[in-house]
């Protein structure tokens, strides 16, 4: 299995798309981090609270969700690129046991997803810290909380990327799977979370962003978006378990349906 994972990691490292996705996620994270930091405490209906407050500081952290979203997209590309460029033939010639390939891709996607999570954490956290200290405030979060957010970013990036790999294995069309990621994260979860607030903690993208320190509703768009805590997110371990269970369910579905299909 180590060989298969090394092969998949090399494939990720030797394509420009991976770096493009990382750069895009990092760029959008940086843009929103700076924007929210600059607006924090400025007053007005939609401005975040000041950076010396937990909610204001946390709002800046919420910009890291963009990097996590692109981790899921990276995961999609890890599996769908094989079908887009017809390289699945070579992959399955090297490793005829296809579930090993799927497992290796999930592992490679997850490892790469942690890089996306780390970059998001460093950008969002660094921006929040920089603006907070520059304005002469005390950082409102303790070291333990910051560390939990950091670990949360890594785990969320890894699990979202693994989910993306499985989604790509099921859908196979790269464009359709990437559109599905954005539609799910931006529209469907916002709609479901807005209409049925009790379901919010259990929505996968929301749970992933909660791991990374975003408040419940902080990652939603439109009327469902709230920057202050409006409910209890899942406990850290429960959120990890939920995302791992979703990953496993998607992987088992792909292994039973699309993965065994003929490569013609």
């Amino acid at each position: 299995m180590i060989t298969e994972i090394r092969t998949e990691l090399l494939k990720v490292r030797t394509t420009r798309l991976s770096y493009g996705l990382l750069a895009t996620g990092a760029g959008i994270t940086a843009m929103f981090s700076i924007l929210e930091s600059a607006r924090a405490g400025a007053g007005g209906a939609n401005a975040p609270d000041p950076l010396y407050t937990t909610s204001g500081f946390g709002t800046v952290f919420s910009a890291g969700i963009w990097g996590l979203l692109f981790a899921a997209v990276l995961g999609v590309t890890v599996s769908t690129t094989e079908f887009r460029h017809q390289t699945a033939t070579l992959t399955y010639l090297a490793t005829p046991h296809r579930n090993r390939v799927l497992t290796a891709k999930m592992a490679a996607g997850a490892l790469t997803g942690t890089v996306f999570g780390l970059v998001s954490f460093l950008i969002a956290g660094g921006t929040a810290l920089g603006f907070t200290l520059a304005r002469g405030y005390r950082v409102p979060l303790g070291d333990a909380t910051m560390a939990r957010f950091g670990v949360g970013h890594l785990l969320a990036g890894a699990l979202l990327a693994a989910i993306g790999v499985c989604l790509g294995a099921l859908v196979k069309s790269q464009l359709a799977a990437i559109v599905a990621v954005f539609v799910w994260a931006i529209i469907i979860e916002s709609l479901i979370g807005g209409l049925f607030t009790a379901t919010r903690p259990y929505l996968p993208y929301t749970a992933a962003t909660n791991l990374a320190g975003t408040t419940l509703g902080g990652a939603a768009f439109g009327p469902a978006h709230t920057t202050t805590a409006s409910g209890a997110p899942l406990p850290f371990v429960a959120a990890v378990a939920l995302l791992a269970a979703i990953t496993a369910a998607l992987a088992l579905t792909a292994a039973a349906t699309t993965t065994p299909r003929d490569i013609t």
Binding site: T3, L10, T14, H85
Partner: protein, 236 residues
């Protein structure tokens, strides 16, 4: 000794019976030409043999085992099935590095096979800019990376210039002369006649004939023999 054995193979895609009750052997140390019109079932047979397509009935084995049961498949079989199976954004060398890891092949072989297929200078170029002939050569490089005993090639001469066709012929004959086994499908009968030892002819998924090339061309050239056999099959 037969190293590839096909027995009673059948495969249907929806309404199309791609392969029917197909049986033939490929002998070790021989180049065997796999001939048939478009849609005759050649590619389907090769893909079943390589574990990429599941058969409805029958068996296809290499060295007595199904492809997926080979302990080190790329050390046993090198295959080139399609020249388009490359990521256009990856360099040729990057592609071979990934293949070398997957095959447990010595990375130093990358330079050897690039040299063998005359792509050393293009090794660091992205494959999106490669011609069809270059992609065919790179496919062969990847197939040869783990020094396999068997080569399975689907239309490898497509896109090669005359010099490349001659190079391929010499490569395949040399591979067989050293004890390797080659199963190669092709439409170019004149080229096949200069390359292969044995011929397997397929028509609409069924075996028409398996014979040594010398026996088939005893009373004429391979093209005449092929057309006579396939027309006779069609009239049945």
């Amino acid at each position: 000794m037969a190293i590839i054995e096909i027995r009673g193979l059948a495969k249907r895609f929806g309404p199309v019976q791609a392969v029917s009750d197909l049986s033939f052997d490929v002998e070790q140390g021989m180049v065997t030409g796999f001939l048939g019109a478009n849609g005759a079932g050649k590619t389907t047979t090769l893909r079943i043999l390589l574990g990429l397509v599941s058969a409805d009935a029958g068996t296809a084995t290499i060295d007595g085992r199904a492809y997926r049961d080979l302990p080190e498949p790329l050390h046993t079989v090198g295959a080139v099935l399609e020249a388009s199976g490359f990521h256009p954004g990856r360099t040729a060398r990057g592609h071979l590095r990934a293949q070398a890891i997957a095959a447990h092949a010595d990375p130093s072989r990358i330079d050897d096979v690039l040299d063998l297929v005359q792509l050393t200078e293009a090794g660091d170029r992205r494959m999106g800019g490669f011609s069809l002939g270059m992609r065919q050569r790179l496919g062969l490089a990847a197939a040869l990376l783990a020094d396999p005993e068997v080569l399975i090639l689907d239309e490898p001469a497509n896109g090669l210039d005359p010099e490349g066709v001659r190079w391929l012929r010499d490569l395949l004959r040399g591979f067989a002369a050293e004890g390797g086994t080659v199963l190669v499908s092709s439409h170019i009968l004149a080229e096949v006649a200069q390359t292969v030892h044995d011929v397997v002819i397929l028509d609409r998924g069924r075996l028409v004939k398996q014979a040594p090339l010398a026996a088939l061309t005893e009373h004429g050239d391979l093209e005449d023999a092929y057309l006579n056999l396939t027309e006779r099959q069609a009239n049945r």
